[in-house]
């Protein structure tokens, strides 16, 4: 279970998060929506322990992430997968080596076992046969699927997706969301998806939260968000230019 309690964060005097509180139960997927630059990725980085809060705390299974250090932090991270916006693949490694890297470095597995696991994960994301290619030879969608395979190779209990479909064509974007849905059914991970793909992603999740100007503007099941009477939520969901939120 992930609990975010009164989270505050500033960068160079600009307050991005102004007291965010959220709760994601075990096995639940939450979608985090909101305008770009309003701190959605910052929340994910706090959960992963890549950033420390100015105030407030993030609690994962009873442990305050901001206070974890050394082995305790490594232990949390070994249960966590993070799909970065750009994939964060190692450019100088082949697809196979990218997926195998965490296993080679951390797991006590034979070469053959590692090979089997990598081939299996690449097959899961539909990339069998791409083992010898390098990230620069892959399309954006393929890179994200390789990154997903690299995270899945650990069978994480918590998955954080930072804009998994941004920059992809609608078909590939849809395929990635289907993949996330299927993997969730298989692994039952707790997850957070940061995305702007409202229409498609609402179908696969149980909870949606909208962040606006550093605070949670709305939270609830997708149906409630879609039928919200709040003018800011409605404007964002419908993508309208006119409304209380200025696009400038």
């Amino acid at each position: 279970m992930i609990e975010i309690e009164e989270l505050y964060k500033s960068f160079d005097g600009f307050e991005v998060l102004k007291g965010i509180s959220l709760r994601i139960d075990k096995g639940e997927i939450l979608v985090l929506i909101g305008r770009s630059g309003y701190g959605k990725s910052v929340i994910l980085k706090h959960i992963a322990g890549l950033m420390k809060p100015d105030r407030g705390r993030v609690v994962v299974d009873g442990k305050d992430v901001g206070k974890l250090k050394g082995k305790d932090l490594s232990q949390l991270r070994s249960r966590l997968g993070f799909l970065f916006q750009g994939g964060a693949l190692f450019g100088s490694m082949s697809v196979f080596d990218n997926v195998a890297f965490p296993l080679q470095e951390k797991a006590r597995l034979s070469k053959e076992e590692i090979r089997k696991r990598v081939i299996y994960e690449l097959d899961q994301v539909g990339l069998s046969g791409a083992e010898e290619k390098y990230p620069s030879q892959l399309s954006g969608g393929m890179q994200k699927r390789v990154a997903l395979a690299r995270e899945l190779v650990w069978e994480p209990e918590i998955m954080l997706f930072d804009e998994p479909t941004t920059g992809l064509d609608p078909i590939i974007g849809h395929a990635i969301l289907n993949l996330i849905e299927n993997l969730h059914k298989q692994l039952n991970f707790t997850g957070i998806i940061v995305t702007h793909e409202i229409a498609r992603v609402f179908g696969i999740v149980s909870k949606v939260a909208m962040i606006h100007e550093g605070v949670i503007k709305a939270v609830g099941p997708p149906e409630d968000i879609l039928s919200s009477e709040d003018p800011i939520v409605r404007q964002f969901i419908k993508g309208e230019i006119d409304g209380p939120v200025s696009y400038r």
């Binding site: 992963a48 890549l50 970065f84 916006q85 750009g86 964060a88 450019g91 965490p102 470095e105 951390k106």
Partner: protein
């Protein structure tokens, strides 16, 4: 009052960054001393910093030795001391020119590439991804470069010195007519082991300076600019700071330690 405040803030910022740089160096020493060391990555970096810099070091060394011999010959000729051409070329190369010029060449060729590589890894979240795998990015990115610099620089400087002395021989002996026996004989009389040790210590410390500054600037890319611009700024700063530190440290090492 505003100016004083700005000056104070700028000074505090500089001291803060110096502190972070100092801690970075301490961490580099700490992780270098404690196993495991990523051996294949270390070999790869020795190849990159050392072997692949050989050509530029040979070229620079040869022409530095040649021009020193040429200049030295005409200067010594005024005093009728051409016999000392060999020791003059050798001592200048071994004590100063070899370590300093090799350091500057390695900074330009390998140091800039190290900063750019680590910087790109930083802005594309690869370092964060490594941390999230429960791995220590310092061991993968900084320690191999750091150790490779310490190993490769003295070897490159040795090549620079030898090639430079031979370049000086070609100009002094073959072109200007100094006796070969005089060139090398006087060199053996005047160059001590102490001089070679001085050059060795300098090259060792320059290896540390280059890899420390270049890794630091890459690792902290984004503090002075974002995206590609941040990497470009970090690379420029790494090259400038390494080069300046090499020259400053060279002076203090020469004046205080020897």
């Amino acid at each position: 009052m505003g100016l004083v405040r700005k000056l104070g803030a700028a000074s505090l910022h500089i001291i803060h960054r110096m502190g972070i740089m100092g801690l970075f160096l301490a961490r580099a020493f700490f992780y270098s001393a404690i196993p495991p060391v990523k051996f294949f990555r270390l070999l790869k970096q020795i190849r990159f910093i050392g072997l692949q810099s050989t050509l530029v070091i040979v070229l620079t060394g040869a022409f530095t030795g040649m021009v020193m011999s040429l200049q030295g010959f005409y200067t010594l000729n005024r005093f009728g001391s051409e016999a000392f051409l060999g020791p003059m070329v050798a001592l200048s190369l071994i004590k100063e020119m070899g370590p300093v010029l090799s350091g500057l060449m390695v900074t330009a060729r390998a140091g800039s590439a190290i900063t750019a590589e680590i910087g790109i890894m930083r802005i594309s979240d690869q370092i964060d991804a490594m941390e999230l795998m429960g791995l220590n990015p310092f061991r993968y990115l900084v320690v191999p470069n750091f150790l490779a610099g310490i190993i490769a620089l003295p070897l490159l400087v040795a090549i620079f010195d030898v090639v430079g002395i031979f370049g000086g021989y070609l100009v002094g002996v073959k072109l200007l007519g100094v006796g070969a026996g005089t060139y090398f004989g006087e060199m053996a009389n005047y160059v001590d082991m102490e001089d070679i040790r001085e050059g060795f210590y300098k090259s060792l410390s320059f290896g540390i300076i280059i890899t420390w500054v270049c890794c630091y600037k890459g690792y902290h890319t984004g503090t002075s600019g974002h995206g590609a611009e941040g990497v470009s700024k970090a690379t420029t700063q790494a090259v400038v700071l390494s080069s300046v530190l090499i020259l400053v440290w060279d002076y203090f090492m020469t004046s205080l330690l020897f």
